[in-house]
Amino acid sequence: MGMTIGEKIIARAAGVSEVKPNDIHTVKLDRMMSNDGTTHLTVDMYKNKLKHPRIADKDKIVFIMDHNVPAENPKTAEAHKKMRNFARENGIKLYEGQGVCHQIMMEDYVCPGELIFGADSHTTSYGALGAFGTGVGCTDFLYGMVTGSSWVMVPETLRFNLHGKLREGVYARDLILTIIGDIGANGATYKIMEFAGDGAHNLSIDERMVLCNLTVEAGAKAGIVEPDEKVADYCRQHGREAVHMFKSDPDARFAAVYEYDLSQIEPVVVRPDFVDNFALLRDVREEKIPVDEVFIGSCNNGRLPDLRAAAQVVKGRKTAPSVRFLVAPASNQVYIDALKEGIITTLMEAGAMIMNSNCSVCWGSCQGVIGENEVLISTGTRNFKGRAGHPSSKVYLASAATCAASAIAGTICGPEDL
């Protein structure tokens, strides 16, 4: 019986030749990532709850401070101190304020075929490089840190065959938001979303990350794009070697197969309060919904192509006075690249506030929170009720280009409306 990419990765991590859906296996973890959203709790448990605290392999662990960086109050500072001290005491690599965790993991660690646990739901991003990344809680993380291993139930795989190319002005973000709209917020729960076909290979690594990152919003355990030469190139450029480039066998079993013609995808605006509350920009723009804040950033859409798309839209224009326009590059490297291209200057001249690389607005804490009854349009990952600030506030999700256009107009619209 053939296996899917995800099954092959689990089989490798479990040290067995074959796995099938719903089997439970003990697996060796290739890498583990924890950020400041939960690490202070992990550290507390490690210090207070374990009879024999120990770390299986410190070199496989990465700590990244990104959610509330820099600290906005003393309690956050205290949580950070705990994380920083633990990393120092145990020789764990720590990043502080250098970027959103998933972006840093992609730049510095992820390799195809790896099984990676991250104490963050968007760990699914690593499928862009053909890895199996999945989000876990801090107890799972702790178990993995102590033993170097964990258990996984082998998920079924959904296969998405992508064909052709996205049209100009349509982005990977529109594609994944369309897919989530189609299959629903629990359409892939407990499952792997596997992307393949010429349309998938036409996408850049950054675009693939947009896809895999958001698969968790359909409930997926992992999102994986079939790795190809672009993956090998990306790894080489970042000083790593791509070894395990798994592809699904021809006779692999999929729970369902979907076909998407990328040329048919249109710009999307997801309405509050759910990621599958799909709508098309061409319909939403008619409503002229006023926005109070616009955010471009996050592990989903804060990379160079996204900032570039935003800059192209706002060049020579000014942010509407009623709008707070916030931009957070996904990493320090993205910021530096954007600086060199003049993107940061263009955005700032248009009135954008450039924040340090962090999660901030996307997760609704630290910087850029929104007030009572306010409306945010964002390139972030979620639009849950109250996610970005006051419980009465509303969040719309769209591509960087749509968000940028909305910042200029002060109402939700696309670049062609300006």
């Binding site: 960086v69 820099p70 600290a71 906005e72 109050n73 003393p74 309690k75 956050t76 500072a77 205290e78 101190k81 502080e96 304020g97 250098q98 006075p321 009623s322 707070r324 326009f325 916030l326 320090n332 910021y335 530096i336 600086l339 060199k340 940061i344 200057t345 700032m348 001249e349 009135g351 506030m353 450039i354 924040m355 340090n356 901030s360 630290c366 910087q367 850029g368 929170v369 929104i370 007030g371 009572e372 306010e374 600030g389 006051h390």
Partner: protein, 412 residues
């Protein structure tokens, strides 16, 4: 008998032929500045007082900086109230994300030589760098100015500070003002005006003078004035002939004279937790740091970022380094000059221009047992986090070199 600068400005403003220290006079206010923290209170008091229009909307500047970007849901209320005030009373000078108020007031030309300006912030003394009499007031008093355009002031005595010579390469304006505060003490200039002069001051940029006038309030000063020169005129876009009356007369009466020889000055820090607890950096070398901060209305200007970039070029920080440019304009200039790339490569966390950390709201707050070296203006207990945070204040050069080592070092 001659006059000090402050006496001349008050005379010109009031039309009085003579004023003397201690005299209470009513001045016509040329410009006021209100920031986001206090706009709700100003708006309330203004209406409570029974005013229904501003004395002159063109003379009112509203700046959002302390709460930008918002770190708490309640912060948004300040913007909403501010926006409603703007709409209701027709304000035209509004900055919602352009930087720190004191930077913008001179940068955007709202405060110029010879003007009298009040702001709802103690560091309003900053505009003395261009020869403007500017001082901080509370929101009730601001509300009354908005209605009347007038304010009573007691003509202050003036302390004259003369700094002659050439500053050593590793000594900056920040070291000068810290030393002066240490000598005057935190209340040494209370109710008084400072007048800063001498060849070392002539050689300083307007930005450096701004660092000094900004911190003068930490010695209690009402204002801190510099004689406008060609550099001032270039910066403010004024003609020297219009402002050449702004200087202290030879025979003016000063209550105190303080003189420094620039060559004698050394890099210093204000140590926890008083601004006048001044020690030479050489005595503090090796003090472990958890964080370094370069920014604020005291030291977040282009020359400060340039100095940091010069020192950090090709290096990596050993502790957290937070950099907050003072304004959008400065940030853009620093990108153009290549400083931001150097700083980012060194590992700095670069934030949106605003007050953030300096005023203790977001932007790098610390906790018990942590130590920070910062270029801003206050190291009061609890200013940047809990009361068990140790805050050292120093120059951008001291900050940058210390960030490389994660401990206090003396700049070279």
């Amino acid at each position: 008998m001659g006059n000090t600068i402050i006496e001349k400005i008050i005379k010109k403003n009031t039309g009085l032929s003579e004023v003397k220290p201690g005299q209470i006079v009513t001045v016509h206010v040329d410009r006021v500045m209100i920031h986001d923290i206090f706009i709700p209170f100003v708006a309330d008091k203004f209406e409570e007082m029974g005013f229904d229009r501003l004395w002159d909307p063109d003379k009112v500047v509203l700046i959002y900086d302390h709460l930008v970007p918002a770190s708490a849901v309640e912060d948004i209320r300040h913007f909403k109230i501010g926006d409603a005030f703007v709409k209701k009373y027709g304000l035209t000078h509004v900055h919602r994300s352009d930087g720190i108020c004191h930077q913008l007031m001179t940068e955007a030309g709202y405060a110029g030589p010879g003007d009298i300006v009040f702001g709802t912030d103690s560091h309003t003394t900053t505009y003395g760098c261009v020869g403007c009499f500017s001082s901080g007031i509370g929101y009730t008093e601001m509300a009354s100015i908005l209605g009347t355009g007038e304010m009573w002031v007691k003509v202050p005595e003036t302390i004259k500070v003369v700094i002659n010579g050439t500053l050593p390469a590793n000594v900056s304006a920040k070291d000068v003002i810290l030393r002066l505060i240490g000598d005057l003490r935190a209340d040494g200039a209370t109710y008084k005006a400072l007048e800063i002069t001498g060849s070392a001051v002539d050689a300083m940029s307007v930005a450096s003078r701004m660092t000094i006038s900004n911190m003068a309030v930490e010695a209690g000063a009402k204002c801190c004035l510099f004689r406008p020169d060609e550099k001032t005129c270039q910066y403010t876009g004024t003609d020297l002939s219009e402002v050449d009356w702004i200087y202290g007369d030879e025979d003016a009466q000063y209550c105190q004279l303080i003189e420094y020889q620039a060559e004698d000055l050394v890099p210093v820090c204000a140590c926890p937790s008083q601004v006048d607890n001044i020690h030479p950096v050489s005595d503090l070398v090796g003090t472990k740091l958890d964080q370094v901060f370069i920014g604020s209305c005291t030291n977040g200007r282009l020359e400060d970022l340039a100095e940091a970039a010069r020192i950090l070029d090709g290096r990596q920080t050993a502790c957290k380094l937070i950099i907050t440019p003072a304004s959008r304009k400065i940030y853009l200039e620093a990108i153009e000059a290549g400083y931001m790339e150097i700083l980012a490569r060194a590992g700095a966390i670069i934030t949106q221009p605003g007050c953030g950390l300096c005023c203790g709201r977001a932007g790098g707050i610390l906790t018990d047992g942590e130590t920070v070296l910062a270029t801003n203006n206050r190291n009061f207990l609890g200013r940047m986090g809990t009361s068990k945070v140790g805050i050292y204040l120093g120059s951008p050069a001291t900050a940058a070199i210390s960030a490389i080592y994660g401990e206090i070092r003396e700049p070279l």
